[in-house]
Structure formats: structure tokens, C-alpha cells
Symmetry: C2
Subunit: 336 residues, 2 copies
DNA sequence: CTGAAAGCGCTAACAG
DNA sequence: CTGTTAGCGCTTTCAG
């Protein structure tokens, strides 16, 4: 057994053909005689040949690799997206290079720069897209599809949820469930999803002639701990709130836990509605009413768009997916 | 602005030097005159040059990429590991190719084969390691470090937790907390971690002269739904159990939810202890007593070992990390 | 249907 | 200190 990678040259020699024929026999690019193919395949198997993907990439210009940029793989919303993308890429025998930015803009930019020469395309789930970092990829013809948060650079595709429409539903639902004094747990100001959800929520309240008092509008990170902090602030406000909308489920779950730890009963004392519908939202007690974003579907549509851009030179488009309200215990008051 | 990648040749021409000098000026491999460096750097900046990593890899044989194989990124234990590895790889400007096997042995094998020519090393978090699939990497000198589950192939490094010792602690703790009739939620038979934890647990019970009845030993997948199923079976057994040990926290969380849904009070009616200490274990109610496996530390030690194998040709070793019992609500009975 | 040869972009000898 | 040259292993013209 060799302790160095077997090359196509060695396979070709053993099979008694040229490297060109060996290449074609193995990849099927060009027609090769049946028994010649057999000899090559046998030789390859005997030697344990594996095609060198790096050499192939240099020659073809295709890397069979896509980059997936996410802020935090640990967040279930993103880990589900990553898993779905990875599965679909694998079906095409493509590799996925994972880029976890930890919400760091500089890190995101440096990843994007690196992906230019190492990926055929990029799926960008950014929380604070930097147009200047995305621009070079577009100029060099590296397809980019943004998921979750849109990116306003021409040439970039987008697959996003109807954030504003969903948040509007949340406002109406909380009102109908009995909420009258509303708290709003917002995200960092840079995030387009947060802005859209806040706008939709406020618009939804408007139709009932209501609004959110400044002391009831708090800005915290997109995380469970952020949600706890947000709820802590809301519970300390002078006028108590009786319904809370959060921009993400991780925040909502944190908010629910904090409220419960401080003796509030949900939904009796306080209604809570999140946004995302991550798997844990239905697992916790009380289970969380939220807006269902189909992570799998977002991932699938984004991936499919990227693939058609890479393979067929398809034009990027913008896809807006609907979100549905999923009513669970956190807003379901027992009659009476 | 060019719409095709700028090559080193173009940079060299603009700077009026040879490609070799341009290469050395940019990478610093060989000493180059200060003002020559300046000219090259300026030219590169002006043209927007980015080194082609594929070409570099073909030449140097280094890919600056590692493969990370996990069964399920969606599982918090693995997503934390992946995040930690990704962060450390990024500090070295290395890329991480994510390989999610979905517990599929064939898929794992195909990933490993592909990684031979596309990664400098592999971190393998397998649940059912296939020696035959790992062997070619070792023969070809691709370093492999197994995490979580050991792999019995010479040349493979391992970073594992003291599964048996931890489970032994669990048995003693459950006994001291008042458990007398023990249930055991086991994993699939192929998993070495499950076998080690079961062995440790049974050994721990032995010292109290106890054992687990066959009807109280159930085998279910390593997942929340698996845990629910396991608890369902235990609650249907003829003799009721009063203490349950599960091989993983995801199973334990599922078991707790199922028991609570069926009206059992934890810890009053039933003690539950898991293994892993994923972040959700301290978040749920009742919070989960478990054995703390430091995912970050496992990831770090495995990564560091792999890097020293790749960079310095270090010999692989086996590291066994201690686990600690973390006592929480699920086994803490109120006095009386 | 098959072979010879060029060359993807880069780095590492080897010369000067 | 810098330039010339030879390939890394593969695919793809171009000839036969």
C-alpha cells in the first residue's frame, strides 16, 4: 500500500492508457471504449486512487464548495439552516465551508474576502451586512444569496421572511388575546429584521389605536440572555406591561424564563409572543406562541437559487416567504 | 475594475518585477527589498489582487482547511463544539469544512474519502466509527483526531470524556438522592459512549448492591424524541422506577418533558440525571442534574492536537478529560 | 475512440 | 536581493 496519494498518471500507466483517457474514463466526460473504462476503473480501484480535488479545481475553476456565513451556529435557527444546506450540498457532492462570524462585522468581511477564491458561491446569513465586503464578490462573479436579512447590493439574491407582515399578525393576536399595555423587546439597531419586525408590530398596534411607550421599548441582543435582560427592564418599568413581543424566539424564551423566575404567570399575568419558531419554542413550558419561519424552506430556497446562479448563470431574485402565527400556551388564556 | 480574478502575473507586471519576487514580497517567504515590497503591495492593492488559494494549495500541498465531522449540528453539544473549532481555525486563517453525517455510516465514509484530498486534517466526532473508512486517511498521512467517541485505529488521536467514571458518579448520586428502582435510558448499541456510560452506571449501582431490571433498560436514539420514547416505556413498566439515568442530556430533557406531561413530579416522584451538560439543561424547568462534559475543552484539546500533528508532525495521543456532577433541581428533593 | 501537450496560478528550487 | 524555470495533478483542446 502506498503512503502517498496515488495520481492519475499511475492509474493510467497501470491500465496502459494515457492520462487523458484515464481522466475521461473515470469522469465520463468523453466517450471511452467499454473495456478501456473497465481497465482504468480496475487500476484505480487496485491502487486506491482518489481524484485530487485541488488540482481539478485549479484546472476547471470550479471548487464544488460553497461558503455559508452565519452569526452563530449555536443558535437553533441557524444550526437548522446550516444542517439543511449541508444536506443539500452533499447531495451534489459539494462541500460546505462554515463561517461563524460571532456577530463580528470585521470577521464577516474577512471571511467574504477569503471565500472569493475558495468557494463557487456564498450563502450569507448576516445580521449586519456590509455592502463594501459583499461588492468584490459580485464584481468577480461569485454568486451571493442573502438569507434572513436582505442585502442591498445589486446582483445579490435574497430569501427573506415577511417580517413586517408577521409582526403585524403578532400585534393583532396579542390584542385579541387580551393585551393592552405592550412591551417590545427589540434587537440591535443594525439589524434589518429587527427594524422590519418592530415596524410591523407598531403598525399592527396602530390599527387598534395603541402604541408602545418609550420605557416599554427595550433593545437587547438576539440571545436568550438578551431576552432575560429585556424582560428584567420591562418588569422594572413604572407602568407594568401585560403583553410582550420579542424580535426572536431566543429572546422570547429568555423573557419567559425571566418572568417565570420572578413569579409572573404566563399567560395569566403576561402574554408573550416571539418570532422564528425554533424547535425549543414548542418544547419549553409554557410553550411559546410565535411566528413560524420555515428555516428549512428558507435554507432550501436560498440554496436552490445559489445553485442555479452557479450552474446556469441564473439571475438573482428576491423571495419573500410568508410566516404563520403558531398559537401556543404563552398567549392562550384559560376562559374566565 | 476587472471582472475576472487578478493574477499574480498582472501584479508583477504592474510593479515591474517577476512573479517570484511578487510572490515573495506578498508572502514574506524570502527577503525582498523594502521599496520593491512597497511597489508590489501598491500594485496588488490597486488591482484588487487576492491570492488564489487553490493554486497555492496545489503547489504547497497545504490546504489550510480541516474537516469537522459531526452526526448532527442541530444538537447543542455538537454545535458548541463546531463553533469552538471554527473560532480557533479562523484564528489560524484556516477554513472548516462541515460534514454532518445525520448518523449515517455510509455518508460518514464518503465524507472521509472526500476529505483526503481536500483537508489537512480531520476532527471526527463520530457515533459509529468505521475503521475501514478512517484507515486510508492514516495511510496517506492525513492526521485524524477523534472526539467524544474513541476510534481504535493506530495513528488516530482521541479526546474523550471519562464516560465510565462519570456514569458511576451518576449512579451513586441517584442512590444518595433516594433512588431505589433504577431506569436506564441507553443509546444505540453501536455507540461506544453509550456502552461506557451504561457500564459505569451499572458498576456504580453494584457498589450499593443494586442492579437494573431488563424491563427498565431501554434503548432509544440520542435525541429529545428518543428520550420521550424511553420515558414512555419506563412509565409503562410493571414495577415503577423512581430514578432514571440517560446517556445524553437530549434524552434526559425529552424524558423529563414526557414525565411531566404525564403528571409525574420531578424530583418528588422521579429523579432524573443526564450526561453532557448542554446549555439547555440548566435552562429548562426543572433544571437538569447532569454530568458536565466541557464541550469547549474537548473541542480545544482535539483542535490543538490536530494542529500540532499537521504542523509539527506530532504523534497522536489519547486524552481523557474528567467529568463533574452538576446537581440541579431534577434530583434535589426538598427535605421532608 | 485515443494520445500528446498545454496550462490553470502559484511557490520553490536553482541561478545569477 | 531578484529573475528564470519547473512543475503540483488535473482537464481539455487539438491531432490523429
Amino acid at each position: 500500500m502506498p503512503n502517498r496519494a496515488v495520481t492519475l498518471r499511475e492509474v493510467a500507466d497501470l491500465a496502459g492508457v494515457s492520462v487523458a483517457t484515464a481522466s475521461n474514463a473515470l469522469s465520463g466526460t468523453r466517450k471511452v471504449g467499454a473495456q478501456t473504462v473497465q481497465r482504468v476503473v480496475d487500476a484505480a480501484a487496485q491502487l486506491g486512487y482518489r481524484r485530487n480535488e485541488v488540482a481539478r479545481s485549479l484546472r476547471t475553476g470550479l471548487r464544488n464548495t460553497i461558503g455559508v456565513v452565519v452569526p452563530d451556529v449555536t443558535n437553533p435557527f441557524f444550526s437548522e439552516i446550516v444542517k439543511e444546506i449541508e444536506g443539500r450540498a452533499n447531495a451534489l457532492h459539494w462541500s460546505v465551508v462554515l463561517c461563524n462570524t460571532s456577530f463580528d462585522i470585521a470577521r464577516e468581511a474577512s471571511y467574504l474576502a477569503r471565500l472569493i477564491s475558495s468557494a463557487d458561491g456564498v450563502l450569507l446569513f448576516s445580521t449586519a451586512p456590509d455592502d463594501a465586503a459583499v461588492d468584490p464578490l459580485i464584481r468577480l462573479g461569485v454568486p451571493v444569496v442573502a438569507g434572513d436579512e436582505p442585502i442591498l447590493v445589486p446582483g445579490v439574491g435574497s430569501v427573506v421572511s415577511d417580517n413586517e407582515g408577521g409582526a403585524l399578525l403578532a400585534a393583532r393576536h396579542l390584542y385579541e388575546a387580551g393585551g393592552r399595555v405592550f412591551g417590545l423587546i427589540d434587537g440591535p439597531p443594525t439589524m434589518a429584521t429587527a427594524r422590519a419586525r418592530v415596524a410591523g408590530f407598531l403598525r399592527g398596534l396602530e390599527s387598534s389605536g395603541l402604541t408602545v411607550a418609550p420605557e416599554h421599548h427595550v433593545r437587547v441582543p438576539y440571545s436568550l440572555e438578551g431576552g432575560r435582560e429585556g424582560m428584567r427592564q420591562l418588569l422594572q418599568s413604572t407602568t407594568p406591561v401585560d403583553a410582550v413581543f420579542t424580535c426572536t424566539d431566543m429572546q422570547a424564551i429568555g423573557a419567559v424564563f425571566e418572568a417565570v423566575d420572578r413569579g409572573r404567570r404566563i399567560p395569566d399575568d403576561l402574554l408573550v409572543c416571539g418570532f422564528d419558531d425554533i424547535s425549543w419554542s414548542s418544547r419549553i413550558h409554557p410553550s411559546l406562541t410565535t411566528l413560524h419561519q420555515d428555516a428549512e424552506r428558507i435554507a432550501r430556497r436560498a440554496f436552490d437559487m445559489l445553485v442555479s446562479m452557479i450552474l446556469e448563470g441564473a439571475e438573482p431574485s428576491t423571495i419573500v416567504l410568508p410566516v404563520d402565527l403558531v398559537e401556543r400556551e404563552s398567549t392562550r388564556r384559560r376562559p374566565g
